[in-house]
Assembly symmetry: C2
Homo-oligomer: 361 residues x 2
DNA sequence: CTGAAAGCGCTAACAC
DNA sequence: GTGTTAGCGCTTTCAG
């Protein structure tokens, strides 16, 4: 360590200075910093990790999708980690990856991380023993598939959000609500489905058959063609906004106007949701809050291995009401067929500039 | 090293086995692996990095946005890195971050990386000396702000794509093309603007004033209100799809039908582009190809520090034609005002299921 | 407040 | 094919 020589102190003192440890005189600290500056010194992270046994980095497992939800969650994590002093190591799992999430966790453990974040876990048939592999704490974001001692979960209360959406539609006067579900391998999709189903059950409403998509607008469109065939259908709760958009297009092509003939509620509040036609009523997810709080709890568990994990707090539920929802159309007189083919539906200006919307709850 | 003992070999031999080095007899290799298995052994990455001087990891600087383009690029990088044996260290720069990209690069260098990827650089007023800081190679994705010895650039040929979009509109018969630009701090936005402007100039067309947004549908909407006021405007090239969607909504509210009255071309081909109304004609970016090729070149530069960098290849330009573009409306008779207020524009079914579209070039 | 010694777990360079 | 000897640059532990 050249810096030590130049500053005329011991190696350890240099270490103290660069680690902001106490018990270094201001004078010595200044001298060391100066010497370091002059030599363009930067600490060697590998050596530090080797000697201390702590890597000061957190591994992140992402599902390799372009989906807004997972991407937003990851970005929330990236944003949140800056305040913690930890670095991020990211590994990507493609859906259909043979080794799955477990493989990704393994590779992270190989690289050396103090904690792990798993974003939007899916049931890939490998899981279950995630936390058994290393003894680092694991934070599962998006939905809690399991909870072993060192596993934390930070959900977004998907079931509660699904309930809110469904009840809103019911309150509008709809007899029942259809559900355009996400792929059931995703825990997040399961939660939304479950929240919808149980709400309907609690209100004693009929539970229509579920249509499942893969989160894409494309499958939403396909599902929409199917749903459009059902004349009794007046309201749909879609598991995400992309599918809702595909769905709305299919409905429009089938001559079913949104929201006059059928109401649609999406999920996520993607940035364009306010600008599609009609502007989408949707459940906004508090990705940032969830990521931030989750990371805080993870760091706590890393730094206090023996303390009990911090409790999770329920994030707020936020229904953004725009123009894709309305009361159901008046009951059809029996025997009448589908209504007119196309919809003149004049375009109404947005209530307020920039995607204004009223917020419910 | 306990594994060495259990297998009855030297430490170095264990090292050889785990590094897949040659010159180890099959028998010994088997014994070592077995011993390792039994002890649940995994190599210590920090020690390895310390001893070898190579971290086997690549740092990634991202701009902390939820934008589709940057996000897709990062995912391409994540996907591409799996085949290289390198790990990813990610650090996030928020726009408006005081330390900027340079700060992010610094922190990566502190953590120890063998190479750096900068995705979608912006001109944050700090830049310029990126590669002077460490001696690791740097890959700049999205647009090349500078090129020092060890800096590679993997552009997406934004200017060429802008040219293609603009010429397509011109060929449709439009007198000229307006441009809804991205924030000019982004090099990518500048390239698109430049490509558009030079194309117009090359064809001797008038160059309308540029309207600038911030990539969001919301600013696209605002810009749309402005543009709608210009009666002569019949075609707009938007710097991304989100803005195009906001723009289209504003036009519709102003009674200007797309594509009958004005044609709109977007940029990116976001997943919902095929399902909005009308389905969006847009320039598709080959994010995956760009990321993959860029990473390959970066790894080459890491592993062959003295060899000249691999040459970049131009990615293909891909115009996806959907329903937001058409020939201009017949010339207005002088003196006639704006046309009717609202647009009945019946919804036409998609040409093919799942966002079918014809591809141009 | 500061320093000396030991060693984290691996790989480099060279022997055998 | 395999082993030996040195460190990599830091932190730890224990003395002052």
């Amino acid at each position: 360590m050249d810096v030590a020589q130049l500053a005329g102190v011991s190696q350890k003192t240099v270490s103290r200075v660069y680690n902001d440890e106490p018990y270094v005189s201001a004078e010595v600290r200044r001298r060391v910093l100066e010497a370091g500056e002059e030599l363009g010194y930067r600490m060697n992270n590998a050596a530090r990790a080797l000697a201390s046994g702590r890597t000061r980095s957190i591994g992140v497992v992402t599902l390799g999708t372009a989906l807004y939800g997972p991407a937003s969650l990851i970005m929330g994590v990236e944003r949140a980690v800056r305040d913690t002093g930890y670095a991020l190591r990211v590994v990507n799992t493609l859906e259909g990856d043979p080794t799955g999430v477990a493989g990704a966790v393994d590779s992270l453990l190989d690289q050396g991380v103090d904690g792990i974040v798993i974003s939007e876990p899916i049931d890939d048939g490998h899981g279950e023993d995630l936390s058994a592999r290393g003894d680092v704490p694991v934070l599962v974001l998006g939905a809690p598939p399991l909870s072993t001692p060192r596993t934390l979960a930070a959900g977004v209360g998907a079931d509660l959000m699904a309930r809110t959406a469904t009840e809103y539609l019911l309150e509008l006067g709809h007899e029942t609500v259809h559900h355009l579900a996400g792929p059931q391998r995703w825990y997040a999709a399961r939660d939304r489905l479950e929240g919808w189903r149980s709400t309907l059950a609690a209100h004693g409403r009929a539970i229509p058959p579920v249509v499942e998509g893969d989160w894409s607008a494309s499958t939403g469109y396909t599902a929409g063609r199917e749903l459009a065939a059902d004349d009794g259908m007046t309201a749909v709760f879609a598991a995400n906004d992309d599918m809702a958009i595909g769905l709305i297009r299919a409905l429009a092509e089938a001559g079913r106007r949104v929201p006059e003939d059928v109401s649609v509620v999406g999920f996520d509040d993607i940035p364009v949701a306010a600008y599609v036609t009609p502007p989408l009523t949707t459940m906004r997810q508090p990705f940032d809050t969830v990521a931030q709080e989750g990371l805080k709890r993870l760091v706590h568990s890393i730094e206090n291995p023996d303390a009990p994990p911090l409790p999770a707090s329920e994030p707020p539920v936020d229904l953004v009401v725009r123009a894709s929802t309305a009361p159901p159309p008046p009951r059809k007189t029996p025997g009448s067929g589908r209504s007119a083919v196309s919809s003149p539906s004049g375009v109404r200006p947005l209530p307020a500039l920039g995607g204004g919307a009223s917020t419910y709850d």
